[in-house]
């Protein structure tokens, strides 16, 4: 399987390939997010308990679920980079990290905003919110480790190892936080899973997928600039820069 992947492991090819995907992914992401959000915000029925404030889930739930997926994606890329010693995979992991962190931050902010009308306070030590906060710490650790190395090839490898360590720990952290939450009675639980009418569920699913595609597109954009930055002294990058400059 890795035989066919290796040709793409050349920076120049990966750069071009990523360039081909970006427009399609971007258009897809915009379409999905537009559809999902308009549907959710305007056409979905009002919740009989929470009124209109529930509509923040169309941002919160996709962000929360994708924050975790992005971390897993980052760790998978890092794992490939570590085991098969493919630098591009390390760079991919490094490009996902800041995007994942922002998504996690969005999930946290929307989560606590949602909490305000429901619980009357901006922050509750809810299990899911707490896990999300820890996830943000994990992302920030990866990002600052990457930023601390001067040699970015090494930086990407170090950050990759950390993200793999993190991804092994995430389920344990999540489990422990859930347990801790159940132990300390009196903390408020988020609404349990109740059947959602399709008019809410479908736009939600569209938005979740839309977030995923958006993260993919953004990661590829960062990945491309990462390739350029790491290969600045290569002839093909110089030619590219000259060609761009001539336009």
């Amino acid at each position: 399987m890795w035989k066919w992947l290796h040709p793409y492991a050349e920076p120049q090819r990966a750069y071009r390939l990523a360039g081909k995907f970006i427009p399609w992914l971007s258009i897809l992401a915009i379409l999905m997010l537009l559809t999902g959000t308009t549907w959710g915000m305007v056409f979905s029925p009002t919740d009989y308990q929470q009124g209109d404030s529930y509509r923040i889930i169309f941002v919160h739930v996709p962000a929360a679920s994708m924050s975790m997926s992005a971390y897993i994606g980052m760790a998978i890329a890092a794992f490939i980079g570590l085991v098969w010693q493919i630098k591009l995979a390390d760079w991919m992991a490094a490009s996902i990290a800041p995007i994942g962190a922002v998504i996690t931050f969005i999930a946290l902010v929307t989560g606590s905003t949602w909490g305000k009308p429901m619980w009357g306070t901006w922050w509750v030590w809810d299990a899911r919110l707490t896990s999300e906060l820890v996830l943000l710490f994990l992302y920030l650790g990866v990002i600052s480790l990457y930023a601390s190395f001067e040699d970015k090839v090494l930086a990407a490898r170090a950050a990759g190892i950390l993200s793999i360590v993190g991804v092994i720990n995430i389920p344990i952290i999540k489990y422990s936080v859930d347990w801790w939450n159940s132990l300390h009675q009196g903390s408020i639980k988020m609404t349990g899973k109740t059947a959602m009418p399709p008019d809410m569920l479908v736009p939600l699913v569209i938005n979740i997928l839309g977030f995923g595609v958006m993260i993919g597109a953004l990661s590829l954009i960062r990945f491309r600039s990462e390739i350029l930055a790491r290969n600045g002294m290569r002839p093909w990058v110089r030619e590219l820069a000259l060609a761009e400059g001539a336009k």
Binding site: Q85, K87, E150, V153, G232, M233
Partner: protein
Amino acid sequence: MTKQDSKALLSANSLTCIREERILFDELSFTINSGDIVQIEGPNGAGKTSLLRILAGLSRPYAGEVMYLDESITRCRDEYNEDLLYLGHLAGVKSELTAEENLYFNLRVSGYDQFDARDILSNVNLTGFEDALAGHLSAGQHRRTALARLWHTNSRIWILDEPFTAIDKRGVAELEQLFLQHADNGGCVIVTTHQDMGIISEERLRKIRLEYRFV
């Protein structure tokens, strides 16, 4: 040590090294056989130490690979490490330990179990200093404590980064003698040094030159 001699002991396959966005060397290839004494030459900043560290397997090259007996060193790390003796800029000598303890621990970590540390230290003129804390030794003696390992090893590949630093003339001559003896016994020596070597003749010494690159 009964491996076939037809295979090159150590070879570099189009090594590229990039440090802080600067190419130190690009597509560098060479072969080192048993019996070779190789000096890596070049101005400061040309990448001599980087090359030695890549050859030793401490650094990963940006591209290319180092082969030990025609096998990539990342794939046979344990065998390679057993056949390799690397001494870097930093001597690996603990100042809290005595000269003898340092040698003892270094040799043990390399896997040797039966040796007389005092006897080995006498080779580097440290008789009488065995029980002195390395932190109290002079720079030259400190260095000798590290170099003492060369007198007790069955590794064939020696990679030495500036081994003569702080060593007096007589010590340098003794080391050169040891290099020649090691090469004659089927080993190879790869060194960087700014000092001239007096005993090893020009014909015997192979040189690999690295240039400072501005790009």
